[in-house]
């Protein structure tokens, strides 16, 4: 049974990219695969959102791109976190955790609003 695929929450793609890049420089294709794999196929990112997101992060100076050759000897653009990106990741992660924590807390109440 395949799990249902979920659309990305607005704004979370940046966080995902930053988090995944923490493991080291990666190219766009590998990122796509990795998002799918890590999220156990729940999240899928299409190229149409991934690449613009990468360029946006790059122009904000959070990641840096360099051309390298892949294992199969093709030229590919590898993205890596910058120091600024690392700080941004830390900040966004805290925000997310607080948000997620709050949401979980709300969802775990048992509907006593009318008591």
């Amino acid at each position: 049974m395949r799990p249902t695929r979920t659309d990305l929450l607005q704004g979370t793609l940046d966080l995902i990219i930053l988090q995944l890049l923490q493991g080291g420089a990666t190219n766009g294709w590998d990122l796509t695969l990795r998002i799918q794999a890590t999220s156990k196929d729940v999240l899928s990112v299409n190229a149409g959102s991934l690449y613009p997101a990468l360029y946006r992060l790059e122009s904000r100076g959070l990641i840096k791109a360099t051309w390298k050759t892949t294992a199969k000897n093709r030229r590919a653009k590898y993205y890596a976190l910058t120091a600024k990106g690392r700080r941004q990741l830390a900040a966004e992660r805290t925000t997310w955790e607080r948000f997620a924590g709050a949401l979980t807390a709300i969802l775990s109440t048992k509907g006593k609003s009318h008591a």
Binding site: N27, W29, G48, Y51, P52, Y55, S59, T70, R74, K77
Partner: protein, 902 residues
């Protein structure tokens, strides 16, 4: 931050490389995706397709990616501009028409903006915000006491203007009167004026009461009189009766002193006492220029000290003035101080003037609006022609807003080019007007080149035009753009517009009709306003001021400036008056105040009347000789005029005006009553028993006359006998009399300059506003005609367009037997209906505007039906022509040809 900026800049210039890199990256993605699908068991072709589908629209992605980089706006604008230039150069004829139409509209705005800017800040003073002019006139003693050791004001200077005579250097030169300004040494530094040649005055040059006879020339005088000869420094100019003044400097062209029109020369204040003064002629003692309680002849200026403000300066000035005017006249100090403002504020004040400026700018703006509407009509046609292109762009994935934006860019490019053209038109017309004959004669010796430079539209005018181009572009760009993109791409690509224009064409026709109606309405308003202004000026030309203005010439020989003393002057006058009667065409000779020019202000009272301080200067005295009333055609209503004996003895009798009699003794017999009149006027006091006429017997009453200015009917006007005033002659109407009088004076003394003018000229000259009113009227008439032309073009265009679209219909009609007249009526009727609607709106707006106009221009803005009928008639005739021609063409349609066009 800087990184981001640099990256933007880099990407902007390396768009192509970025694009190819992105392409490579996306290709890699696609390949790997395909590979994965093949590995999962898909056929290679299917895999490639699937991968491509999964990837989505790469063009959109590229756009998104560019947007993500944040360079898209600049990029888009750049591409739009390139695209616009390409599109515009493809249709040079259309582009030229649009640009010329708009440029005319912009030109009017640019020119008027320059004029108003000049009018609002009539100063070329550097740093005008801190430059203060102390109101009123002051004596030398006052000046020293006010200026000494002030805290809030520094850089004091004093100045006084006077006409002086520049003696002829050689036989073949004529002497001339020039304008001199006597100044202190602080004058030039406080105006930040440095000499272009030589130097300005030192304290030693100036030092009252003597001063060293030196002179600094204004640039225009130097150019006019000395041909810009730089060897003038160190040479002498001869003033008055030939006193040498050494030229020490020439000011630069842009330096115009404290007003817009510079004097011809600046002289050291101390030398004031060396040159004659009007008082010297009258047998009085030498004028007290610099002694205690001396003559109040000085204007005073200062600079606001750094770190203070206007309020503080006004407070200090008030204390100073209270200190100076003995007796603790506190009202004067307060009043004078409150009128002191920086030079920047001296231009426009008061709601009326603001309304005037708004009126002029509003009129100019409506011309631009009319131009824009004309262009909007052209644009609608063009948009229709380009609908197909727009459809293609929309189909290829460009967003609607993107297409609209690119269209608007095209319109803005047009607008900006037109604004630049408008600047050119504005500066040409300003130059043409200022250097043209009418204006030069209005200037009366002022240097038109300086004015031309001052009135040239500058950068701020261009900024104003660029701002105006926004509403203008919106008017002519937005409507067609929105219309053109509304259609769905499919229909437009399939067939374009249909040839009969019956379906998709209906809406633009309504739109275009609306545009033409608004255009006609605006034109009507402009025509009405200019017609009302023209009528106003005409009205003034017909005013009956109560005296004969055509056949009376006032003759003022400037004896003082030629260095005459009172004895010589008397001798001259006797000889002059004696010979005057022998000049052919002279009928009567008299002396007195020249109406509109000189008035002796006085307090006129009944013996039983006490006046409060406010009505202190409630009347006017006019000292006249026996023929005054006859010469000027001022009719005697009751009693008699003066006898020769009374004139020679300054008898204590008076003639008063009707209004004066009515004011002083309502419903009583004024003859035989006694009045008292008193004046503090310096000249009058010297010649008229200290200016006091107590117990003066009224012997006559004459008709009212507007002696003190157009529209002014003095309520207390008293004529007394005396033989001092300006000589005036009543002529037989022959215009050559002036020249004969001039020639006669040259015979007596060639070094005497004479000022000859008819009372009509004196009247026009006195009403300084009339000059500007004439200019304003010409400007308004020009704008009216310009807008009429544009409206005609719009109307013609629309009718012609309609005819073209309905060619087939007309063919059918005529084939079915419709006569030429019915087709004519059909076409012309439609257009004329629009004209009628527009004109009615315009007339209503015109009536509303006339109130505003009335407050601006004497005699104008009267809602006289004649003006309205005239304008509407003009409009009717012109629009009949504009739509008649295309309509006539419609009747010439050959039914066979028309039906075959499809």
């Amino acid at each position: 931050m800087l990184d981001g900026l640099l990256s933007r800049l880099r990407t902007m210039f390396r768009r192509d490389r970025i694009a190819s890199e992105m392409e490579e990256e996306l290709r890699l993605h696609l390949d790997q995706s395909t590979e994965l699908m093949i590995r999962r068991g898909m056929a290679p072709d299917a895999a490639r397709l699937a991968a491509r589908r999964a990837m989505g629209n790469t063009t959109v992605m590229a756009e998104d990616a560019r947007a993500a980089r944040g360079t898209s706006v600049i990029d888009d604008v750049r591409r739009d501009v390139q695209y616009a230039l390409r599109a515009l150069t493809r249709t040079p004829g259309f582009t030229a028409v649009v640009i010329v139409t708009l440029a005319l509209g912009f030109g009017v705005n640019g020119a008027l903006f320059a004029v108003l800017k000049r009018a609002m800040s009539p100063t070329s003073i550097a740093d005008a915000g801190t430059w203060l002019r102390i109101p009123d006139h002051w004596s030398w003693e006052d000046y020293l006491r006010i200026s000494n050791g002030t805290r809030t004001m520094t850089e004091w200077s004093a100045s006084a203007e006077e006409i002086v005579l520049l003696a002829a250097d050689s036989r073949d030169q004529d002497p001339e009167t020039i304008r001199a300004e006597f100044v202190t040494d602080g004058f030039f530094p406080s105006l930040r004026g440095r000499a272009a040649l030589g130097r300005v005055f030192s304290p030693a040059d100036v030092a009252p009461p003597v001063g060293i006879p030196t002179a600094v020339l204004s640039h225009s005088f130097w150019r006019r009189r000395f041909n810009s000869d730089s060897s003038i420094i160190g040479r002498n100019i001869r003033l008055s009766d030939g006193q040498p003044f050494g030229v020490i400097g020439v000011m630069p062209e842009r330096f115009t002193g404290t007003s817009m029109r510079p004097p011809d020369v600046w002289l050291p204040l101390g030398t004031r006492a060396r040159l004659p003064n009007t008082d010297d002629l009258r047998g009085s003692n030498a004028t007290n220029w610099f002694g205690p309680s001396g003559r109040r002849f000085l204007g005073i200026q200062a600079r606001l000290a750094p770190g203070t403000n206007l309020a503080a300066a006004q407070a200090e000035l008030r204390l100073r003035i209270e200190h100076v005017s003995s007796g603790g006249d506190s009202t004067r100090g307060r009043e004078t101080a409150s009128r002191m403002h920086p030079a920047t504020q001296s231009g426009i004040n008061g709601a009326e003037e603001v309304a005037g400026v708004a009126l002029v700018l509003g009129a100019a703006f409506s011309v631009l609006l009319i131009a824009s509407v004309t262009v909007a009509n052209l644009m609608l046609a063009r948009a229709a022609a380009r609908r197909r292109e727009m459809g293609v762009r929309l189909a290829l994935g460009a967003s609607k807003s993107r297409v609209v934006r690119s269209w608007m860019t095209e319109c803005f490019v047009l607008s900006l080019v037109a604004a630049a053209g408008g600047m050119l038109i504005a500066s040409w017309t300003m130059r043409a007007i200022v250097l043209g004959p009418t204006f030069t004669s209005l200037l009366k010796g002022g240097d038109p080149l300086i004015l031309a430079a001052a009135l040239a539209p500058d950068a701020s005018a261009f900024v104003y035009l660029v701002l105006l181009s926004i509403p203008s572009t919106l008017v002519f760009g937005l409507v067609p753009a929105l219309r053109a993109t509304r259609h769905d791409p499919l229909t437009t690509m399939r067939g374009g517009t249909n040839s009969t224009g019956s379906t998709g064409g209906a809406e633009p026709v309504y739109l275009r009709r609306g545009l033409v109606i608004s255009q006609v309405a605006l034109t009507t308003v402009l025509l009405l306003v200019s017609a009302m202004m023209v009528r106003g000026v005409q009205e003034t030309g017909r005013i009956d001021p109560g005296f004969n203005r055509k056949d009376v010439i006032a003759v003022s020989p400037t004896l003082v400036h030629s260095g005459y003393d009172s004895v010589r002057a008397d001798r001259f006058m006797t000889e002059f008056l004696g010979r005057l009667s022998t000049v052919t065409g002279v009928q009567l000779i008299t002396r007195g105040s020249v109406p509109m020019e000189n008035a002796i202000w006085a307090t006129v009272t009944r013996p039983d009347e006490t006046l409060s301080g406010k009505t202190e200067w409630n009347g006017t005295i006019n000292v006249v000789s026996e023929n005054y009333f006859e010469a000027l055609d001022i009719h005697i209503v009751r009693g008699r005029t003066f006898t020769r004996a009374e004139v020679l003895n300054n008898a204590t009798v008076a003639v008063i005006s009707e209004r004066t009699a009515e004011t002083l003794w309502p419903d009583q017999e004024p003859i035989g009553k006694v009045i008292s009149a008193k004046t503090l006027d310096q000249h009058a006091r010297k010649e008229l028993r200290d200016g006091t006429f107590a117990q003066t017997l009224v012997v006559g009453v004459v008709r009212d006359a507007q002696m003190n200015g157009v529209g002014l009917w003095p309520r207390r006007y008293v004529y007394v006998p005396g033989d001092y005033g300006t000589p005036m002659v009543r002529t037989n109407g022959d215009p050559e009399v002036s020249n004969r009088v001039r020639a006669m004076i040259r015979l007596i003394d060639p070094n005497v300059i004479v000022n000859l003018r008819t009372l009509d000229e004196a009247l026009w000259e006195s009403s300084g506003w009339l000059e500007s009113a004439r200019l304003m009227t010409n400007a308004a008439a020009g704008m009216g005609i310009l807008s009429l032309l544009m409206a005609v073009v719009g109307l013609f265009g629309l009718t012609a367009y309609a005819v073209e679209q309905r060619t087939r219909e007309f063919g059918v009609r005529m084939a079915l037997g419709a006569g030429a007249t019915s087709v004519l009526r059909l076409v012309a009727g439609q257009s004329l209906r629009m004209v009628a609607i527009g004109a009615s709106f315009g007339v209503v707006a015109g009536i509303a505007t006339s109130g505003l106009l009335r407050s601006q221009l004497f005699g104008a803005g009267s809602n006289d039906p004649f003006t309205f009928v005239l304008v509407v008639l003009l409009l009717a005739v012109v629009s009949l022509l504009a739509c008649g021609i295309p309509a006539w063409r419609a009747t010439r349609v050959d039914p066979m040809v028309a039906l075959r066009t499809d």
